[in-house]
Symmetry: C2
Subunit: 247 residues, 2 copies
């Protein structure tokens, strides 16, 4: 069963203020909860429907915490999903640890991504292309926002995010490390020979890369257009750049 | 000014049933309305704020219909946007005309795309890559859904959609025309040499390409994965395929 106080607590975690205070976040839905349970995130609470419990009983019984069986209405009352007939978990956040990028590794730098769906999609796309380190401006939406977690489709368990001052972060990198940025007048990405390691900067949905960060871009790249659309959204642009990087 | 009956009428156009009955649809927001006004869509109603009117007065006065100046609250009451301080138009739909694809041309085939945001994104991405013909299964979400129109960011004015039975449509094409489809066990898209003309099939968000359509795919292609994510969303997959097609 779930208590009124638990519902109140879980509801409060939809707000960043309370996530920070409790260092906890919500994960909802079958796919995301299953990925969470297989990850190294520390579990705090786990609520499941009878059906979900029956489907994963053996697996659930090996977990360090006991799952509580509740019904769909209670699950939806506690969480942010309008429809959830599977599971809801509360897990501990990981804190904001500095990310170091290896010699043959790429990381993303997100300059003011505001939309939770976009951040979630970028995390999912990064995971698809094997990129698991993302450096975010302080203005980028919170990783632990339930809408971000939902949009990652489980990829949040494989990706680390580090929120910092981007200009300071980039200036601390070795001078030889390329900082790629998607800008309007860059080199055609179809002709770009990517280095073995580096960073790819993705800008804000409406305003692109900020002035201060743009000055630190060493390699301007552009996705060529063949039609009338003026822009691509941030998640799409990330996918196209990473696909070109990986080919 | 806007009358109560006009608000009622415009509200009704959020439903497919009434869009079909009146053969009309809503376009909201500055960017989308401006693109509409420059397109060949037939205008029925146009409501703008004083600010929008002042910004585009010369342009608005050349239009075949007069724009009515109303305030932001009225605009939001009539339309589907929670925030709209610019414009709302009602235009006539174009009917469901068969699309023929030229000798050196590509078109998209959408097999049961259900999410309005995904369809809008696909239209926008298609427009970016110069693809302006989209054939849709009858189960694909309605082109004139306000959320689809919004997500296209104006690209709806440059793209034609044709709703039909996909299996019948594909079987009517010349045997030499390739039908590409993104499937799990296809050829690596990075090594694919695309023909000069053809179709690219994008499948449903959860279930992929339907069995009947899959049998008609002549060239199975796959976006290679380098990480842990199990899938890419339909809009992302479309962008990556089209980027590979155009390079």
């Amino acid at each position: 069963m779930i208590t009124k106080n638990q519902i109140k607590y879980i509801n409060s975690l939809q707000q960043k203020k309370f996530r920070s205070e409790h260092q906890s976040f919500i994960v909802e839905g079958a796919k995301s909860v299953l990925e969470l349970l297989k990850s190294d995130f520390e579990l705090e609470l786990l609520f499941v429907t009878q059906e979900f419990f029956n489907n994963y009983e053996e697996f659930l019984e090996k977990l360090p915490i006991q799952s509580e069986i509740i019904n769909q209405q209670e699950l939806e009352k506690a969480g942010s999903y309008s429809s959830n007939n599977a599971a809801l978990a509360v897990a501990k956040t990981k804190g904001n640890h500095e990310l170091l990028v290896g010699e043959n590794e790429y990381a993303l730098i997100l300059d003011d991504i505001r939309d939770p769906g976009n951040l979630g999609t970028i995390i999912r796309v990064g995971d698809w292309y094997g990129i698991h380190k993302i450096i975010c401006s302080h203005s980028t939406v919170d990783f632990y926002n339930p809408k971000v977690i939902a949009a990652t489709m489980g990829s949040f368990t494989r990706t680390n995010l580090y929120y910092t001052d981007l200009e300071v972060f980039i200036q601390q990198q070795q001078q030889s490390t390329p900082i790629y940025g998607t800008l309007l007048n860059g080199n055609n990405i179809h002709q770009t020979k990517f280095a073995k390691a580096g960073y790819i900067v993705i800008g804000n949905e409406a305003n692109g890369i900020s002035e201060g960060v743009e000055k630190l871009i060493t390699d301007k790249i552009t996705i060529p257009s063949f039609g009338g659309a003026e822009s691509l959204n941030a998640g799409i642009a990330t996918a196209v750049v990473l696909d070109n990087l990986r080919r």
